[in-house]
Structure formats: C-alpha cells, structure tokens
C-alpha cells in the first residue's frame, strides 16, 4: 500500500469524532455484559439441561458487530447506520441479559411459561427442518394469496374508480364483503373451495383485495382533474392517460393499499392455518399451544415478526424505487 493511500485511510479514520467512537463502543459493552453474565453464572435449570445456542448466538452477533464497526471506519453509510441504531442495540442486549438472568440463571421467571433465550433459539435451530417446512408453507400460501388478491384488487379498484357503471355495481359488494374479518368466511371457504389450501389462498387474497381496491378506486376518483385535462389538450388518448397519468398519480394509494393488504393478509394467514390447512406457522403455534411448548410459541412469534418486517420492508423499498420523484413520502 502506498503511503498516500495509507494516510488517506488514516485521515478518514481519524475523522470519526470521540463522541461517535463512544457511541460505537457502547453496544459492545452491553453485549459484553450479556456474554459475561451468561458465561459466569451457573444454570438453575435441571442438571440434564445445558446451554447450546445462546452463547454461540451471542458470539456470532459480536463478530458481526465488530465487522460492521470495522467497516464503519471506511464506509460512511455503515457508520451512520450504527450511529443511528446504537441506542436500540444497547436496549436489545440489555433486554437479552435481563431475560437470561431472570430465567436460566435465577429461575425468577417460571418454566414453562417463560423459557430462556437459549431454549427459544433451540426451538428454532433444534427443529430446523420442521420450522423451515412450516415457514416455506406459510410464505408460499401468503405470496400466492397476496398475488391473487393484488391482481384482483388492481382490476376491481380500477374498474370501480374509472367507471361510474362499474362503481354502481361493484362498490356495494366490496362495502358489504370487505370489512368482514376473513376468519368469519373460514367455514364457508373450507366447504366451497376444492381444497383447504385453495380456501386459505382465497382468504388471504380477500384480505389484500379489499384494502387495495378501496384505496385504488378512491385514488383514481381523486386524481387532480387538471392533470387529465392537460393530457387531453396535449393529444393523449384515454389509454395513454390511464397509463401515464392516472396510474402514476395513484401509486401512493396503491402502495398504501398493498401495505394494509399485507398486514390484513398475515392475520388471515394465521387464521387459515390454525383452522384450515393444518400446516404452516399459524398451525405450528396452535400445535405448540396444545402441547404447552412455550419455547415453540415464542420462537414462532419471533419468526412471524421477522417475516412481517421483511415483507413490509421489501414493499417500502419497492415503493421508494418506483416513486423516485417523491421527496420522502412514507417512511418505514
């Protein structure tokens, strides 16, 4: 490495202010506390129990954090992320320490109702094939339902928003059917649909279709008339106006509808799996409840959190990409 690049890197490293260094190191202290208490204190659980996953998990987190901290010396984006999340990271590590101390280290929180972090991790990694199987089943059902409901919602909402005729005949239906919770349709769907899987897909689709249609049709009817008239005076056809004026104008409504749709669909999914298809994460939770396997319940909820968060984050990332012209509409 030539002296100039070395000094260049050095210059950039030294640019981090002391306060920032403190913020970067503070989460390490919290993580260290967690690691140390876990290693130093003995378990109060029955002697056949030994921790397997939690220490390894903490070490991996430590390594990841160190890697990010190292990268943050050179990459401003990474540094900004860490400096943004430092407080939350500390909170997470402190909470983990607290939970660990109150469970396996002292028994203050009783088994089986509150398992230790290690047991929750164990419920995931010890049953990985089953967990992945259910996760895959749920995701496939969810994506099929959201796709079906998304297409249906776009068509239905467009017709309702664009044409008075369709609005007259379609809007009463959606006003009556839409607000009914999807689980209320369950029994009927199971009987009418060719399979319980198809019934579940339909229920998830219904939950996406409803908010998407309502948001889209309202958005289309609310498009600034000047946009349309201006396009007409510029020689645009109805179809061109639909593609280049109306749909871009209602993209915020479409994404709001999809956002609500994903949230409603997750509810529908759990209901459908618990009552209908007998597989997937929703079913796994009710199975765990039947056997009082609380670590399974916690771990499945954890997976749900990750799935929902990932889906919504992807949706907002797409929105940001598609709607480049907005200054910063909806933040997630």
């Amino acid at each position: 490495m030539s002296p100039s690049t070395a000094s260049g890197i050095f210059a950039r490293v030294s640019f981090i202010r002391p306060k920032e260094v403190a913020k970067l190191l503070a989460p390490l202290l919290a993580l260290g506390l967690c690691l140390a208490t876990d290693a130093a204190l003995p378990s109060v659980y029955p002697s056949d129990y030994s921790e397997q996953y939690f220490p390894a998990f903490l070490r991996i987190v430590l390594l990841l954090y160190l890697a990010c901290a190292a990268l943050s010396c050179w990459f401003k984006a990474v540094r900004q992320r860490l400096l943004h999340f430092w407080g939350l990271l500390i909170a997470v590590f402190v909470l983990l320490t607290f939970l660990n101390l109150q469970t396996v280290k002292s028994g203050n929180f009783l088994l089986p109702y509150v398992p230790s972090p290690d047991q929750i991790l164990g419920a995931i990694f010890g049953n990985l094939p089953t967990v992945l199987d259910n996760l895959g089943g749920s995701l496939s059902l969810l994506l099929q339902g959201i796709t079906l409901g998304g297409v249906a919602g776009m068509v239905y909402g467009s017709c309702m928003g664009y044409s008075r005729f369709f609005n007259y005949w379609l809007s009463p239906f959606i006003k009556l059917i839409g607000p009914v919770p999807s689980t209320a349709w369950m029994a009927l769907a199971m009987v009418l649909a060719p399979s319980s899987h198809a019934a579940s897909v339909c229920l998830v689709a219904l939950s996406t279709w409803f908010p998407l249609s309502v948001n889209l049709s309202g958005g289309i009817r609310g498009v600034n008339k000047t946009y349309i008239e201006r396009a007409q005076t510029l020689g645009a056809s109805h179809f061109f106006i639909l593609r280049k004026v109306i749909y871009p104008a209602v993209l915020p409504n479409i994404f709001t509808g999809l956002f609500m749709g994903v949230c409603f669909s997750l509810t529908a999914l759990v209901g459908a799996e618990m009552l209908g298809v007998q597989s997937g994460l929703g079913w796994y939770i009710s199975y765990a409840e039947a056997w009082s396997e609380f670590d399974l319940i916690y771990s499945t909820i954890l997976i749900f959190i990750l799935v929902a968060f990932t889906l919504i984050t992807i949706l907002f990332k797409i929105q940001k990409q598609v709607m480049k012209w907005t200054k910063g509409a909806i933040q997630w």
Partner: protein
Amino acid sequence: MDEGSHSVVEETRQRQLLARDITRAFINEDGSELVALKDFSLEINKGQIIALVGPSGCGKSTFLRLVAGLDEPQAGTLLYNGQPIAGPSPDRGFVFQQTNLYPWLTVANNVAFGLKARGLYHEQKHRVQEMIDLMGLSGFEKAWPHQISGGMASRVALAQTFIQDPGVILLDEPLSALDAFTRAIIQDEIVALWQQFEPIIILVSHDVEEAVYLADRVVVMTPRPGRQIADLAIDLPRPRERTAPDFIQIRREILQLLKSEER
C-alpha cells in the same frame, strides 16, 4: 344549422377563431343558475395575441375551456378554421395557471409528453432537446418538477405546449405565481416563442401591464355574466417599452374601463 351559419363560415376564412354569442351557465349545488358567459363574441385573426382582462369570475377561464374543447357552450357558435370545436385537440394547447407538470416525469419527459402521447416521439426526439435548449432548461433534463424553480416550471409548461406547434395556445394567467422580475423575462420568452411558432395566443391576465406588453389586442370584459366591452388594438412595435407614454396611456385607458365596470 341556422340561417346565418353560411355567412359565419364565410367569415372564418379570414378569421381563424370565431366565437359568436357564446353563453355558458353553470348550475350551482343549490340549484340556482350561474351565468358565466352571456352572448360573448370574439374574432381572432391568424397569429394574433389576444389578452382577455376583466374582473375575477367574469368567465375568462370558462371561455378558454370552451376554446380548448374541455367544455361546451349552451348557445352560440364556436368555430376554429371554419369547423365547430368538438373536444380537446393537440392543435389547441392550454397552459393552466398551475399543475401543468407531471410530478412523476422528469423535465425532459414532461416536455416530450405530447409527442409521446401522439406517437411522434421516435421521429421527433431531437425537437425535445431543441426545445429544452431554447427555453434555457439545458442541464435540468433529468430534474424532477419539485426540484426546479417556479420560473423554470413555467418554462417547462410553455415548452410542453409549444413543442406541439398548435394553431391556438391558451394561456390562463400563466405567470401569476411568479415574481415581477422572472415574469418580465418569461414575457419576452413568450414573445420570442410566438414569433417562432406564430400561433394564435389567447392570454388571460389580471395584470394589465402584462396584457398591454404582450397583446396585439386587449379585450376588456364586464363582470359576470362576461361580455366584451372594449377591444383595443395595441399598435406598439415590439419589443415594447413599458415606460413609453403610449404604453402608459393605453394601460390607463384599460384600467379606467375596468374601474368604471366595477360600479
């Protein structure tokens, strides 16, 4: 067609745009009738700039919408090149007071909107850049509308319309949101565009100075229902001098007409 229609068609041989005894009334929400224009007449020769001035609500925008084909009169004749106006056409461009630009299109794509809508973009791509250069928008091709100043937005709106080379261009208070300095500059740009493309321009303005500066004729209207009370030819050579005695004289005359109407 009534008796007089033949002579009306004859007249439009010389007069590209002809409005005769136009009436447009709206029904309010409470059922009452609001007559925006009553027996309004106007004849415009090829290539003239006409300014419409009059009190707010006297039907100026209503008239522009009729000419654009965005609205229909209840009575009267409205002919363009001898043909009745039926619906909007790219040959009759309209620059609105605001929301002319599509926020989801870049400056270049806003300018190209009409060409794309009419399927002419591939042949005439080069005209987009020419227009952008002509309007001093070079370097902002990829900017989003929210990133540019009000003056630039006005220029993009003008470019979006003039690139279509329409026979008639309707300007509804296009510069009213701008500061006086920017307005004066863009007024000169409008004159330059007009000299290059030679459309009929109907300009609605609440600024009498702007009307006298730009127009070949200033048409003064009464309060609602709008009728024409004066049609003043402005025979000043261009570029015009806002402080010239003639200019000030005409301006004063128009202002007095407007004032006398208020009572």
